[in-house]
């Protein structure tokens, strides 16, 4: 479904992403982990069209979408969320999600109905009329996911949707992601919360200083010496997951 071929992104003298290739097949749930500054969000920005890479190609469903405008990539079926959530503050939760729904549905009434369903599915029904700026961070993260879902993506890129939320909210979010995957959505998830990542991901790619240093199943990654040195630390054990 998605292929990255030797993608390199530079900002002046800094190489944020260096020669990264990866492949995502339909139905996958791929995790991306790595220390801060490893280039994970930059990679998402390249995939979703916000940055054009200096080298390499991005292919979605066989089409070369390298550097294509973000809204066009969304219409192709690839939607991303933002690490620092970007709600439409002065709009209600329902209106936020409706904007997403309007990408596939022309009629406002139908789009709203669709948005209501998505809100239900994401557990936000109680807050549908609330202005987004009045929501606490946990619900804002949910809204971010709901709004992205309303665009009917076939591939969803989630950027740290589990950070900064309470343990209860975390459990809810893990459950949501699992449900979405079970319903057929292909996902790429950036996360720092290893417990969640180990539970959800089928495969994990590890980035460090912009390079892919490891790829494999959660078990393989947890025992990979390079990954432990770069990111996980010796104390981490799979039993915690």
């Amino acid at each position: 479904m998605l292929t990255l071929e030797r993608v390199t992104k530079r900002f002046g003298g800094i190489t944020a992403v260096h020669d990264v290739s990866l492949e995502v097949r339909q139905g996958d749930l791929l995790g991306i982990i790595g220390p801060n500054g490893a280039g994970k969000t930059t990679l998402f920005n390249v995939i979703s069209g916000y940055y054009r890479p200096e080298e390499g190609r991005v292919r979605f469903d066989g089409h070369d979408v390298t550097g294509e405008a973000p809204h066009l990539i969304c219409r192709r079926g690839l939607t991303r969320t933002f690490q620092i959530v970007k709600p439409f503050g002065n709009l209600s939760v329902l209106d936020n999600v409706t904007v997403g729904a309007l990408t596939r549905i022309a009629a406002v009434r139908e789009a709203r109905a669709e948005a209501e369903q998505v809100i239900e599915r994401c557990g936000l029904a109680a807050h549908a009329a609330t202005h987004a700026k009045a929501l606490p961070i946990g619900l804002r993260k949910r809204l971010e996911v709901a709004r992205a879902l309303a665009t009917h993506p076939r591939l969803l890129l989630l950027d740290e949707v589990m950070s900064g939320i309470t343990p209860t909210e975390l459990a809810g979010m893990i459950d949501l992601v699992r449900r979405l995957h079970a319903d057929g959505l292909t996902l790429i998830v950036i996360e720092h919360i290893m417990a969640a990542m180990m539970r959800l991901a089928q495969r994990i790619v590890v980035l460090h200083h912009g390079e892919r240093i490891a790829e494999g199943t959660p078990a393989e990654i947890a025992s990979d010496r390079r990954v432990i040195d770069a990111y996980l630390g010796d104390e981490f054990s799979l039993a915690e997951a």
């Binding site: 973000p70 939607t79 970007k86 439409f88 709009l91 209106d95 409706t98 904007v99 992205a148």
Partner: protein, 332 residues
Amino acid sequence: MAGLIPHRGALVLFGAAALFPLVVRDAFFLDSVVLILLWGALSAAWNVAGGYAGQVSIGHASFFGIGAYSSALMVTRFERNPWLGLLLGIALSLIAGLVIGFLSNRLKGPYFALSTIAFSQVLLIAVSRWRGFTAGAEGIPVPFRPGFATLGLSHVAWVYVALVVAILYYLIQVYLERSRLGLQLAGVREDEDAAEAVGVASRRLKVLAVASSAGLTSVCGSLWAQYIGFVDPAYVFSVDLSVRFALNAIIGGVGTALGPYVGSLLITTVETYLRAQFSGIRTGFTGIYLILYGAVLIVVVRFFPEGLVGLASRWWLRRPGRARAAGAPGPA
């Protein structure tokens, strides 16, 4: 009838304007009504770009001036119908709007606003210098020729012309609030990048909003030139005027359909009153109303950014026994 309830404010305002000439025949008051409606419409036009799309421009006088000159020159230099000038003004303003729209994709917030000011001043200088074509800084007196085709109308007739335009612009804004385009535009206003991520063509919509706003402003400029009978470049391209368009909308309620008209009602009335009071003391008067505008603007932006309309609807919803209606339209 129930479908009209959200528009009760507009019904009151426009209804009163429609009935006014039947009751009052004094030219001074009729003139005030025409101006309130025209400035309201101009602020509504500004609102399309500034309120609904979030592209705050302080250079809309550019389009007003283009419209005014187009119609004035069409009549005086080419001896054609002012309506033709109006159409030409729209075309030229759309082009100018596309240029400004392009700038809005390159510059953010205050820098964009500055660029719009620059644009209007460049036009002012160009028009003032081009004496051979535009009669330069002296301005153009527009002859009054009675008849609808030549827009030579009585005060009463002008009230209804202005009313039609005002209602039309009100409806355009209402459409923007309810439509797919309007919702997407609201997304762009709130967060451009986020809107792009969910499929909204942010850059294109911004240009569309600014260009449309330009065209709408130009129409009013053309009508105004025929109404007032004199086009002075220092006035029609002035920053004062640009600020005025934004001011009415912001005070009344930026991003609401009725806001520009409520704002215009307040500001135009105050200004007319001040002008009547201090008509002998020119320099003193200029200072007074600018200070007043500034003070009101600061108070509004600081304490009730949703404007008078927003304030009124909050108060309305808080009355005892009132159930919370389903979500307020547009921004809070």
